[in-house]
């Protein structure tokens, strides 16, 4: 960030940008009462993009529908086979296989994890549903790996397509998960195959990315040695390069597995398949939170076992004893025979159902007893935090909540005060920062969801200009203008507000936790497993606990987003702060800096680019969760996507998904621009 110079020097880019934005804001504020089209973009000016896309895409999709239906029919076979295989394998044997795999890959720890995880699944009584989910994953992941691997290799072999492949994958990463489902629904019809294909598509990019990265990172010496050994291109690629990149590729497999699992569970919302995601959704809708929690924990158990095992395979280390591995399988087989004779089938084992019922009961009691307290938490956050951010102080401050009515005088006083504070800061030489104060005050006064559109466009352009020059500014403005013209502007602003509020909270809270973890290794030892866990859990499951306590609504969505999106902020903040080169710290200490001075003067500036990347991830996570949160009742783009899914409205689904992706992409590019700028300034 180039901060503006003081008087006498030429103003920096930051100062100019802030000035422009301030002027626009002031102008809008003054003119909106007279020119209503400034505040609200007139419907007459929008283009019926959804309808066009719908017409065009429906025509196109219908064209390729027969092929798709054929594929869907063909895929039903392997899916049926895996399902039959998993369901007919005696459960003790399956538990033993997972335990044995854990032992082979990671020794006692993973073996115990596998045993505990799958035993829990058995005890939960959701065995059949779980195996259905697992069979979807088992078929979609190989497809994803094949698709992603082939794409990665293609991009590596044909440098010309590389950048376009990268762009497509960037976009795919930002398009919300639900948006994939609508066109697929139209193509493949209702049924589990849609989930299968959606998850295969969704899980392919991480694989492609890691294959590309792995192949790119092979030492030149190794590649040249392969050439000089006289291998032809195929031999070089398959005998040398791909095996050399195995570690990175296994990371891709791990990410692909997790993505597929997450998507399979999300795809359950279209229903029609007796799987564990559907079970969560069903119990959640019926407000049977004990059962929902149980089913959710089954998903978590799956996620953790699959993640840790495949991550273990990515690590290069000696495998554990084969003999014990085989022994574990043998014990499993033996128990399986006994089980066949004496034990009931796994689906009928409902050992944990009483526990779930008990939890449900306790929860009801708890919520009844503490309803007032929970409500007051929710209302405080809504009335004093979220609502003012959304509709501005002028709309949110009412006698019934704040105890007084917001008046024009108060607006004037707020703006005058902010101008005074800004003036003082500017006078001290930080002109851009000084200009920022009245801008922010104006935004709080107006509310994010009611910001005039010229202000948003010019503001984004100005930030883009400071972060990455003219090209980035143009990109931001054009992208947002497309959303404006699509007629989804209001919903987009609403999404922007909710994710903005969540990101802001994550930045402050996550930054603070990251800082504490950087200072105290003990704190990190507590926080790290929690972070690991939160990152492994499929998005869907986050909804259960917030619903349990706060019911359906905006606040629950807000909490769910924070739960999910705070992790990268914590991780990156800590990582940035602890990875200061030791000689820098030694230099600071030997200059007589205290711990805090070292933190503020050396570590924090050095960590800034890393922390910005964390913020970037947090933003992307927040947008991803925003769509899922639409399930528990929010408005905005997430809801549009969800509605489109319900009505199989391809046009609305695509445009809403695209609008969401645009918001995420613009935010992503802006933050990345700042991070790159910081890195350059530090010479990294």
């Amino acid at each position: 960030m180039r901060v503006g110079g003081s008087t006498g020097r030429r103003p920096g880019a930051g100062t100019i940008a802030a000035l422009v934005v301030l002027a626009t804001g002031a102008l809008c504020m003054a003119l909106v009462p007279h020119l209503p089209w400034l505040g609200q973009f007139p419907d007459a000016w929008t283009l019926p993009m959804s309808a066009w896309i719908d017409t065009w895409l429906t025509w196109f999709l219908n064209l390729i529908k027969p092929g798709a239906r054929l594929l869907s029919a063909a895929l039903a076979y392997p899916m049926g086979w895996t399902k039959a295989l998993l369901l007919h394998t005696p459960w003790p044997l399956l538990v033993a296989l997972v335990t044995a795999l854990g032992w082979y890959v990671g020794g006692m720890r993973l073996a115990l994890l596998g045993f505990a995880g799958f035993s829990f699944v058995v005890a939960s009584g959701y065995w059949v549903e779980s195996m259905n989910t697992l069979s979807l994953v088992a078929v979609s992941v190989p497809l994803a790996l094949l698709l992603g691997g082939a794409t990665g290799i293609l991009a590596n072999e044909v440098p010309r397509v590389k950048s376009s492949v990268q762009t497509v994958m960037d976009v795919m990463q930002t398009v919300p998960t639900f948006a994939y489902l609508t066109p697929l629904l139209l193509l493949f019809g209702f049924g589990p195959v849609v989930g299968l294909i959606a998850s295969a598509i969704y899980a392919a990019p991480p694989m492609a990315r890691n294959v590309m990265l792995g192949l790119e990172r092979i030492e030149t010496d190794i590649k040249e040695a392969a050439i000089m050994s006289g291998g032809n291109r195929m031999q070089q690629l398959f005998l040398i390069e791909i095996p050399s990149a195995a570690t990175q590729i296994m990371v891709g497999v791990n990410q692909s597995l997790m993505a597929a699992l997450s998507m399979v569970i999300i795809a359950a919302v279209i229903g029609g398949f007796n799987d564990i995601g559907w079970e969560v959704l069903l119990t959640m809708r019926k407000a049977q939170f004990g059962d929902a929690l149980l089913a959710g924990l089954v998903i978590v158990a799956f996620a953790i076992v699959i993640d840790r095992n495949s991550a273990g395979m990515a690590r290069q280390q000696a495998r554990h004893s084969r003999r014990i591995t085989l022994a574990i399988i043998a014990v499993g087989a033996f128990v399986a025979v006994l089980a066949w004779l004496y034990l009931p089938a796994a689906g009928q084992l409902k050992l944990l159902v009483p526990v779930a019922d008990w939890v449900d009961g306790r929860l009801t009691v708890f919520v009844r007893a503490n309803g007032a307290a929970l409500d007051s938490i929710k209302n405080t956050a809504m009335f004093y935090g979220l609502l003012p951010l959304r509709i501005g102080l002028d709309g949110a401050v009412l006698p019934f909540t704040w105890g007084f009515q917001w008046t024009g005088w108060m607006s004037a006083a707020l703006l005058a005060a902010s101008a005074a504070i800004g003036g003082v800061i500017a006078f001290q030489g930080r002109v851009a920062a000084g200009l920022l104060v009245p801008i922010l005050a104006g935004m709080v006064e107006t509310g994010i969801a009611e910001l005039p559109w010229p202000f948003v466009l010019i503001g984004a352009g100005a930030v883009g200009w400071v972060a990455g020059g003219r090209r980035l500014a143009l990109f931001a403005v054009l992208m947002l203008a497309a959303v404006l013209l699509s007629g989804l502007w209001e919903k987009a602003l609403w999404s922007l507000y909710l994710s903005g509020a969540a990101v802001l909270t994550c930045a402050i809270l996550g930054g603070a936790i990251g800082l504490i973890c950087a200072l105290s290794p003990l704190a990190w030892r507590v926080v790290q497993p929690v972070c690991d866990m939160l990152q492994t859990i499929p998005l869907f499951v986050f909804l259960i606990p917030v619903l349990m306590f706060f019911q359906i609504g905006e606040f629950s969505a807000f909490l769910a987003i924070i739960l999910y999106a705070i992790v990268p902020m914590i991780r990156y903040t800590r990582h940035g702060l602890v990875s200061t080169p030791p000689d820098l710290i030694e230099a600071a200490v030997s200059s007589g800096a205290t711990t805090w001075q070292t933190m503020r003067e050396v570590r924090a500036p050095y960590a800034a680019p890393t922390i910005l990347l964390g913020l970037n991830q947090t933003i992307l996570y927040a947008f991803a969760m925003l769509v899922i949160a639409a399930l528990i009742g929010t408005t905005g783009l997430g809801q549009s996507i969800f509605v489109a899914l319900g009505q199989a409205d391809v046009g609305l689904g695509i445009t809403s998904g695209a609008a969401m992706a645009i918001l995420a992409l613009v935010a992503d590019r802006l933050v990345q621009g700042f991070a790159a700028e910081r890195r350059r300034a530090l010479g990294l």
Partner: protein, 354 residues
């Protein structure tokens, strides 16, 4: 070596080789040469002004059969690039390169693969070992590419592993080896196909000084037995002087001098080369032949004869005639007197340049 080739044909022949990096290099180069009127320096400058990188400029040299030819230069001088031109790991912008009389720049892809399988071996600075293969598999890999049978290639791989002194480590993986051991594997792998032409790209640069010296000595032993035609890249003048038959010194993409170690030390072509050799103890590299004076037929026969021969280094000669003041005779390999040397001149020649 093919038997039909004429005996005086060089193993490698490079003529006017240019390697220019950047888009449109192949078109810009003749233009630049035209505009500069054929002047290499000026042409290179024109290319640089156009945003291109002339990494190798108009380089010509021959490597004789069985010769150990060292290319020495600082980083960025283009020495590794010229090696990659000869092995055709990169495509040359202009010029000719022949290996055993065969033009390799026009050779097809298939032909190059064949050449690499049969004739060329290469050792890399960072070893380039395949991480997923054991030592034995690494060494046998080029043989596998030749489609040799398993038993046969493992036998041959074992042979070269023994040659580089790694017996007993065949089953180890690269990550379990020390740097010195890794480079031994690299050397063994490059020798597995028994190549005629052997490329070594700074093979010892990444090693500790002690290990480096040990491997240099072993390398000299191996070469004494195998007599390969070698192109050896290094940035270490001491290493170059120690092992080379001839040295080419490169600077900014051009060769500034080609000569034997004693020529480089005693007759540096310019200040750049002199700078390099300033700290080198000349006595260890220069041989008597380089400071020999013809026999003066009128002078009286020398009173002393300490038994000097032309192949002695200056240090050895000085040791032999430390206490003498009169000129002494120097004999050729056949025992005949071929010249005289004054011990005082000998001492002067050893002075390190100020």
């Amino acid at each position: 070596m093919t038997d039909t080739a004429p005996p005086d044909q060089p193993a490698i022949r490079c003529r006017d080789v240019w390697q220019v990096f950047g888009t449109g290099a192949a078109k810009c180069l003749p233009d630049a040469l035209d505009r500069a009127g054929g002047d290499v320096r000026q042409a290179a400058q024109i290319l640089r002004d156009d945003g291109l990188v002339p990494a190798v400029q108009n380089v010509s040299f021959d490597v004789k059969r069985g010769e150990l030819f060292v290319i020495m230069g600082l980083s960025g001088s283009g020495k590794s690039t010229i090696l990659r031109c000869i092995s055709r790991l990169i495509d040359v912008t202009a010029g000719q390169i022949e290996i055993d009389g065969e033009d390799i720049l026009t050779a097809s892809k298939a032909r190059m693969t064949q050449l690499r399988r049969r004739k060329l071996g290469m050792v890399f600075q960072h070893f380039g070992l395949f991480p997923h293969m054991s030592v034995l598999q690494n060494v046998a890999f080029p043989l596998k590419m030749q489609r040799q049978g398993r038993a046969e290639r493992l036998r041959r791989a074992q042979e070269v592993i023994d040659l580089v002194g790694l017996k007993g480590r065949e089953g180890a993986y690269p990550r379990q080896l020390s740097g010195g051991q890794r480079q031994r594997v690299g050397i063994a792998r490059s020798l597995a196909v028994n190549p005629d032409v052997w490329f070594l790209d700074e093979p010892f640069s990444a090693l500790d000084p002690l290990i480096r010296r040990q491997l240099q000595d072993e390398f000299i032993d191996i070469q004494a037995r195998l007599r390969k035609s070698i192109v050896f890249i290094t940035h270490d003048i001491a290493e170059a002087l120690k092992i080379a038959d001839r040295i080419a010194i490169m600077r900014d993409g051009q060769i500034v001098q080609i000569g034997t170690p004693s020529q480089i030390v005693l007759e540096p072509a310019d200040d750049y080369v002199r700078d390099f050799t300033r700290d080198v103890a000349k006595g260890r590299h220069a041989r008597l032949s380089s400071v020999l004076r013809p026999v003066d037929p009128d002078a009286p026969p020398a009173p002393d004869d300490p038994g000097l021969t032309v192949d002695m280094t200056l240090d050895e000669a000085l040791n032999a005639c430390m206490l003498l003041y009169q000129p002494v005779p120097v004999r050729g390999r056949d025992g005949q007197i071929v010249g005289m040397i004054d011990p005082a001149d000998l001492a002067n020649a050893l002075q390190v340049d100020p």
